[in-house]
């Protein structure tokens, strides 16, 4: 399988610019939440990386944290990158929204807010529920979500 990751010297340059970065062995990158917007703007605008296509935005609920996952693709160079952000606060999870940078983040963030309850800050009127009714209580994709109904006993 061909390798589409960012070359090692460009990754070094990124690590020097953002010291809080953590690069895993499979080339996934873990970014602290405070650095998210500067990091994303850097790899989008800097033509060495030119990661202009946000192909996936999702999240997962672990026992001790939430984790947001972003997949990016560069149209010109062909690189792919998976970026993860850890949210330690499980009571009120918050993370800056990527809507000002990519319009494609809008609906995907609304889906994660609706199903998981992570709040995206920094964009007015965002996020609102997208699939479930506005007065639905709870966030279904969390591991501790209880509901009634389904098969009759």
């Amino acid at each position: 399988m061909a390798d589409y990751s960012i070359p090692a010297d460009l990754m070094e340059a990124l690590k020097n610019k953002f010291p809080g970065l953590e690069i895993q062995e499979n080339r996934d990158v873990i970014v602290p939440a405070a650095d998210l917007i500067p990091f994303m703007s850097e790899i989008k605008d800097n033509q060495d990386y030119a990661m202009d296509f946000l192909t996936n935005l999702t999240g997962a609920d672990y026992k001790d944290r939430f984790e947001m996952v972003y997949n990016l693709v560069s149209m010109t160079h062909g690189y792919t990158l998976m970026v993860k952000v850890r949210i330690e606060d499980k009571e009120k999870p918050e993370i800056p929204s990527l809507c000002p940078i990519w319009g494609g983040a809008n609906w995907q963030e609304r889906e994660i807010y609706d199903l998981m309850g992570i709040v995206f800050t920094g964009y007015t009127g965002h996020p609102t529920r997208i699939f479930l009714d506005d007065n639905f209580q709870g966030h279904p994709l969390r591991k501790d979500f209880q509901w009634q109904g389904g098969r009759e006993a």
């Binding site: 296509f53 192909t55 996936n56 999702t58 997962a60 997949n71 319009g103 494609g104 809008n106």
Partner: protein
């Protein structure tokens, strides 16, 4: 004199919304000032259900997301599991996957073409494409036993081999396919009224397309050459010779024309795959109970609507910990609100049909 806008519900039940989908339109006369799409009427909670099933039991759920191209939906999910487990699929299985995947793509594009003609008002187009889709579905039924929800893929390969009567039937269908595409071109594409209603309507510029993560014919209509089968070839696509049709203006007419051209290219791909297919096994050596190692993986395939991806997190048990599907119709639909502003109500239907959505995929 004072005027005010009028709120109209392009309701959940509508002959042209391709399913239960609602758009709240703010109208000034007949011109749309603001459009608010409301999805969620078919939200069945597949991602949550998948956490309570084993890895193989999730495959039928993927069928029911984009039910028009079921084989391609299976493929994306199964590829993510194989990436996580490090399984290598045997060559014969890869070729079979390409053949049935491309047949599924033809079936999906046929419905897109016919339904779009029906939306614009040319209902005859609907009957022609459905009649031809029946031949395609016959082939898929020969292979998998079902007409629409196949569940034919397995982790590590496919479920059954191609039967003997498949090869002559497939070659006959491929010989007829260019004639079918010419018929659609003659019926619909050259029609003056159709062209007047779709040319220069709903234009998507390449920059906005990339910014809004559009993919598939919706993005290629604007001239951006992003087809996963060429950019990051998976399976055996690097050995097959085909072109990627691109549009020029990014309007509804271009998106429609691309689909008919893609059908012709699919025919070429299947022809080459049928010539090149080797003998061999159809499934790799996979343990009876599928338990991937702890970790996560993300895999993408090019589905008929766009880029379809699956993000999988495993915690070592036989059931997935978290499954997320990157659904192309859902993301393509995110741009609809901006795209409809300034057009009339009839154009909203034309624009919505050209994006080609499937509600099972939008709502998951």
């Amino acid at each position: 004199m004072k005027t005010q806008t009028y709120s109209l519900n392009l309701g959940p039940q509508h002959p042209s919304t391709h399913g239960v989908f609602r758009i709240i339109l703010e109208l000034d006369g007949e011109t749309v000032v603001k459009a608010t799409p409301v999805p969620g009427y078919l939200h069945r909670g597949i991602e949550k259900l998948a956490e309570a099933r084993t890895y193989t039991q999730v495959i039928p759920y993927t069928d029911r997301m984009d039910y028009l191209a079921g084989m391609l939906m299976n493929w994306g999910y199964v590829q993510a599991v194989e990436k996580l487990m490090g399984i290598e699929v045997p060559e014969r299985a890869e070729y079979i996957r390409v053949i049935v995947g491309e047949l599924s793509r033809i079936a999906s594009h046929m419905i897109a073409t016919g339904a779009y003609g029906g939306d614009i008002g040319a209902l005859t187009a609907f009957t022609y494409t459905f009649r031809d889709r029946e031949y395609c579905i016959d082939l898929l039924e020969m292979v998998s036993g079902s007409r629409m929800t196949f569940s034919y893929f397995r982790v590590g390969g496919v479920a059954d081999d191609l039967p003997g009567e498949f090869y002559p039937a497939a070659r006959k269908f491929l010989a007829d396919l260019p004639g079918m595409c010419d018929e659609y071109d003659g019926l619909i594409t050259g029609n003056e009224i159709f062209q007047a209603r779709t040319k220069h309507v709903g234009v998507i510029t390449p920059e906005m397309g990339i910014n809004y993560s559009l993919s598939g014919p919706t993005l290629r209509g604007s001239g951006v050459n992003y087809d996963l089968r060429k950019v990051r070839p998976y399976s055996v696509y690097d050995r097959l010779n085909f072109e990627v049709p691109l549009g020029k203006n990014g309007d509804c007419f271009d998106r429609f024309r691309i689909r008919i051209e893609e059908m012709r290219q699919c025919g070429k791909i299947i022809q080459q795959a049928l010539d090149q297919i080797p003998e061999g096994s159809i499934q790799a050596k996979v343990p009876k109970v599928i338990k991937p190692p702890v970790g996560d993986a993300y895999a993408e395939v090019e589905s008929s609507k766009g880029v379809y991806g699956c993000y999988l997190v495993s915690d070592g048990s036989p059931k997935p910990y978290r499954v997320h599907f990157r659904r192309p119709s859902f993301i393509n639909l995110g741009y609809l609100a901006k795209l409809c502003e300034g057009w009339k109500i009839a154009d909203v239907i034309a624009i919505l049909g050209s994006i080609d959505i499937v509600l099972g995929e939008v709502d998951c």
